[in-house]
């Protein structure tokens, strides 16, 4: 009995086959639900800092156009559509790459995406404390002219060297992992609450931003925090910012790196492909539709922000932040929701549309990033990649040791962030790593029709579509491979040409070492350990000859 037989169910619904009365087949979910699922997965509210960071790393980027380059995710969406229709199983790229290429590459690709999730929970914890709760206290301190409250906020907004941040973050992480430990039911309640808050926050934020303009904000800066708008622009100019500079290449690069990073995770509907009705319609709707929705969300957020705050101030803040010159002026990195305090001093609007709501949403978002990876650690243990201890569950069915391991990885990342900016460039390399994984996915797509002819031959029509006279999955595989290489190059570009090469070198080394060397070591240790247990790892994944 399984819902994984949905593909067969779809065939039955089409009237092409006859199933038994007691078939064990379920009716399955609608294409629209699949779309909703794909849209829920990534945390779109982080548009608030990507919009700032990308314009300095890729000077001259026009962000409203850069957002449109999220379309470069469509080839990968297509690959997931085709693969998920032919192999409707949980596990996503781990399954596809393992089956088509090798289990080793499947593990490497899956490992990178798993550890990205856990490390990002560490990063997000810093963001939640610094720019969620820290900025909340700063704003309230300014509104109520309460210096103690403002100082508390600036302490919490310190990116390094604050014990308060470390303690709060550690508690925050412990609470997150407690929710993960309690299981999916409780976790999903948090997710749903965060979803409602995301849209409420955007609505409130948009109303506030549309009700002001840069002149009002400039006056607000002066009145609330005694910051001179023109002086901010002048300081940024002195550091090399050129207002009105727009160029195509940085726009493309920003779009394909940071904008894409915001919606990574939209492919998750492929993980429930087996349970979706009419896979030929549902997967394209979910995979392509979610990307379109992200673009719409991002464009609205960007438009209202530019309308209220102005492009110049955002670009200037971005430049100042890249040189560490923003904190002396604003007393903390002025992430976009913080700027609301210059547009309105209504505490209710600030809480609902600003950093407080942002912090809560991102706390849940961080939890979401770790939830699936903890399950992956559990699965690796089953597959012999990690010791059996990590697949032990308690009476409630919770994988205690996998949860603990996930906590340690996230907490390590968070703690390093509290001490040193060593991994501050990490975010950029996350994209590198992600596309490294997708490079293998693309290769798997290219060779799929020949390397797994048995699966290809019985794949549904949606998978076997043709494009330019060749199997579409092959064409998109080639495009995806080229995009992967280009995006990896684009993320490394600031490193190649940046002034702070030596500062970024350790981050680059740590990122690649952890993601690529550690899994290789783990893989070979697992091979050795399994051999000692009597069934070699290779044999565990090798196909038993049927004939």
């Amino acid at each position: 009995m399984t819902v994984q037989d949905a593909a067969q169910m779809a065939a039955q619904q089409a009237g092409d086959v006859f199933s038994r009365k007691a078939s064990g087949l379920t009716r399955v979910v609608s294409p629209w639900t699949a779309l909703a699922y794909s849209f829920v997965a990534p945390n779109i509210t982080q548009a608030s800092f990507y919009l700032l960071w990308s314009v300095t790393l890729f000077a001259g980027a026009n962000m409203q156009i850069a957002i449109l380059f999220m379309i470069s995710l469509l080839p990968f969406a297509a690959i997931y559509v085709y693969f998920s229709a032919s192999m409707p199983r949980s596990g996503g790229e781990y399954i596809y790459i393992s089956r088509v290429l090798t289990p080793f590459l499947g593990f490497i690709a899956s490992w990178t995406l798993t550890i990205v999730g856990l490390n990002w929970q560490g990063n997000n914890t810093n963001y939640v404390i610094n720019w969620g709760f820290g900025h909340t206290f700063m704003q309230l301190g300014l509104v109520y002219k309460n210096q103690a409250m403002f100082s508390l906020g600036t302490e919490m907004a310190k990116t390094q060297g604050s014990w308060l941040v470390w303690i709060m973050g550690t508690i925050s992480l412990m609470l997150s992992f407690y929710v993960i430990y309690r299981g999916i039911k409780l976790f999903m309640r948090f997710v749903w609450a965060a979803m409602i808050l995301t849209w409420v926050m955007l609505a409130v934020y948009a109303i506030v931003m549309l009700s002001v303009n840069p002149t009002v904000v400039a006056a607000g800066m002066k009145a609330v925090q005694n910051i001179d708008y023109q002086n901010v622009l002048a300081q940024a100019r002195s550091l090399g910012w050129q207002p009105g500079l727009y160029a195509l290449l940085p726009t493309v690069l920003a779009g394909m790196t940071f904008m894409n990073l915001t919606c990574l995770g939209s492919t998750y509907s492929a993980n429930i492909a087996g349970e979706i009705k009419r896979v030929d319609k549902a997967q394209p709707l979910a995979q392509y539709g979610s990307i379109i929705l992200f673009i719409v969300y991002y464009e609205i957020f960007t438009y209202v922000t530019y309308h209220g705050v102005g492009v110049d101030l955002l670009q200037a803040i971005s430049k100042l932040n890249s040189q560490g010159a923003d904190v002396p002026i604003f007393k903390a990195f002025p992430q976009i929701p913080y700027l609301m305090v210059y547009a309105t001093q209504n505490p209710f609007l600030l809480l609902i549309g600003g950093p407080f709501a942002w912090g809560l949403i991102n706390w849940v978002g961080a939890m979401g990033l770790a939830f699936a990876p903890v399950r992956n650690l559990f699965a690796y243990s089953f597959d012999g990649m990690l010791p059996p201890k990590f697949n032990e569950v308690n009476r409630r069915g919770s994988p205690v040791y996998a949860v603990l391991l996930g906590f340690v990885i996230a907490w390590f990342q968070f703690t390093v962030n509290c001490i040193t900016p060593l991994l501050s460039a990490y975010q950029v390399y996350t994209i590198t790593i992600w596309f490294f994984g997708w490079m293998f996915l693309s290769i798997a797509a290219i060779v799929f029709p020949w390397r797994r002819k048995d699966i290809w031959d019985k794949a549904p029509e949606v998978t076997r579509q043709k494009l330019l006279g060749a199997p579409a999955i092959v064409v998109w595989g080639v495009v995806g491979f080229i995009i992967s290489i280009f995006v990896m190059y684009a993320t490394l570009l600031p490193f190649f040409q940046g002034a702070s090469v030596y500062a970024q070198l350790p981050a680059l080394g740590v990122s690649f070492g952890f993601y690529m060397i550690l899994p290789i070591i783990l893989y070979f240790v697992a091979i050795y350990m399994n051999k000692r247990r009597g069934v070699s790892l290779d044999k565990r994944f090798r196909e038993v000859p049927p004939d």
């Binding site: 199933s19 038994r20 999916i184 039911k185 019985k458």
Partner: protein, 324 residues
């Protein structure tokens, strides 16, 4: 005898829910040699779920429409290849005329009749393959029908020389370990042939468990997993058999295992519980001292999901999930 106890180990390979896939069944038969196991066990649900009509056309070619793909194949090798591909996925291809297809659509009892016949036929073919391959190897092969399997196949299962139907029996795996087997399940929403009320399931399990000499050293091969464990998690269904959704858009997952099985395991505390039934709930979990294992199933893709288990005299030495 060694003063430190026996170092003798027995290796088992367990799989389940092959659902008509000839490719997976052949792999199962070969698994003993491949994983160097002395005993191979198939935990139930051997028959497939669907008939795919190959409709004869005016030009004597055949047309099938499966998963949105129209197959137009010529009689001969092309047709045989298509039939084999469908069979390997657990489907039952049948050559029919357009009139016969219409009759199938109008009279559902015809589907059930054909289904039982096709299932029996395939089991018979499988057993011939098994006998050819296992004869003289010394590998013991135990199978049992699961809740999804019609009773018509039981007769076919008696024909084999090397494959033994162990449903509702006790067998000796070696000198130290016995195995009881029950293929029936608690009631499912699909009213499967061997679905039973929990009380009846309890009675059947007790009927065999009571005959075991040393339950603490036994293997309980019970198709349905124990209730409320990691082995029995499946989406909750509404009356239309549609999965219910959670607030976040995911599936609402609930335990669907058997309370009778759980009670039996908690009562007898055997060394090992072998289960299947819930394909997506691949897991291992201890209930007291008993390690309960469900290796899951991916029969539709021709993948043999299983678990290699090593038992020493009084201990489960290790278990290793496989994907072959």
């Amino acid at each position: 005898m060694s003063p430190f106890g026996s170092s003798k180990k027995i290796r088992l390979f367990f799989t389940t829910d092959v659902h008509g896939s000839t490719r997976v069944f052949k792999k199962f038969i070969n698994s003993g040699k491949f994983y160097e196991a002395q005993v191979i066990i198939l935990g139930g649900d051997m028959v497939g779920k669907m008939i795919v009509p190959l409709v004869e056309q005016a030009n004597h070619s055949f047309r099938a429409n499966y998963l949105g793909k129209v197959y137009d194949v010529a009689d001969g090798d092309e047709l045989k290849h298509l039939e084999q591909t469908l069979e390997d996925s657990g489907l039952y291809p049948i050559r029919v005329s357009p009139d016969e297809v219409r009759a199938f659509g109008e009279d559902k009892s015809l589907v059930e009749q054909h289904f039982a016949q096709l299932a029996k036929q395939r089991i018979t073919t499988w057993l011939q393959i098994a006998d050819e391959r296992l004869r003289g190897t010394g590998i013991k092969c135990y199978v049992q029908p699961g809740n999804d399997d019609p009773y018509e196949i039981d007769e076919a299962l008696k024909q084999s020389e090397c494959v033994m139907n162990v449903d509702e029996t006790v067998v000796d795996l070696d000198d130290d370990h016995q195995m009881i087997s029950v293929g029936a399940a608690n009631q499912t929403p699909w009213q499967c042939p061997r679905d039973l009320p929990e009380e009846e399931l309890t009675r059947r399990i007790e009927g065999v468990a009571g005959k075991v000499k040393n339950p603490a050293n036994a293997v309980f091969n019970l198709h349905v997993p124990p209730y409320d464990t990691n082995l029995d998690v499946a989406p909750e269904l509404d009356p239309n058999l549609t999965p219910k959704l959670s607030l976040s858009g995911g599936f609402k997952m609930i335990p669907v295992g058997s309370t009778a099985v759980r009670a039996a395991i908690e009562k007898y505390q055997p060394l090992l519980g072998l289960h299947g039934h819930i394909h997506e709930s691949r897991s291992a979990q201890k209930l007291g001292r008993t390690m309960c294992i469900n290796p899951g199933s991916e029969y539709g893709e021709g993948v043999l999901r299983g678990v290699v288990i090593e038992l020493s005299k009084q201990k489960l030495e290790n278990y290793t999930f496989t994907m072959g």
